[in-house]
Symmetry: C2
Subunit: 109 residues, 2 copies
DNA sequence: TTAATATATTGCAATATTACAATTAATGGT
DNA sequence: ACCATTAATTGTAATATTGCAATATATTAA
């Protein structure tokens, strides 16, 4: 169906899934890595840096912005994006809470 | 198109995206959380625990198994699943390398 | 105001994902 | 062998995602 039954899961489970989905596409991973590298924001340079068309990049940026992982600032005719440090830290806390669960002797398998 | 252009991205970027995608659905998050909690494996209990139909759970388990995040052992008529501790740690290293990038003063935004 | 530049939005085609009914396969018990 | 139980597979319908051409919007420069 393609329709995730979010109502069956806890808020935390849905939040983890939503955040993880943001990293579930290499273009968004590449965008974020570039924003970390070129700490002084970037905009349409991303279109050149990554090989995808402008509307495609714009769409990925929108998703990341909706999640609060990046911020965008209009500067003349271009828009400057950068990591939202505060929200990035919050995101990491959520993800680490999930990733750092204790692996108690995997007996059975 | 729904067709991710993986060839445009590095192996690491694609790996991060593939791993993240595994956590991009609350059912798989719930499955993994349950496997961590009930460290002594589980099988079709997951079908009861989570509310989805058996084939749906089976499909999610298959994805997690293909990525190596869980292991499955046949035990009579049932199959026992558990976290693959070794691969989980490897996955964490990859994800943390990405998540723990330095946030250098977000100037601009 | 007009032109140029940069980005966002819209619309659409193609592929991917999710979910499940129906079925099949595998194992154990009788 | 037969039945019951459990899990995997297959097939299919519905929704989601990705990507881009075309267009719209916004800002600056002339």
């Amino acid at each position: 169906m393609g329709l995730t039954k979010t109502e069956m899961f806890s808020d935390l489970q849905n939040e983890i899934a939503t955040l993880a989905k943001a990293f579930g596409h290499p273009a968004r991973v590449a965008i974020l890595q570039h924003l970390f590298k070129i700490n002084s924001c970037v905009c349409g340079d991303l279109v050149n840096e990554i090989g995808l068309a402008q509307p495609t990049i714009s769409q990925h940026l929108k998703e990341l912005k909706n999640l609060g992982l990046i911020k965008g600032n209009v500067e003349g005719t271009s828009v400057c994006y950068c990591i939202d440090g505060e929200n990035w830290v919050k995101m990491k806390e959520v993800m680490n809470q999930f990733l750092d669960q204790d692996i108690s002797q995997d007996h059975c398998c």
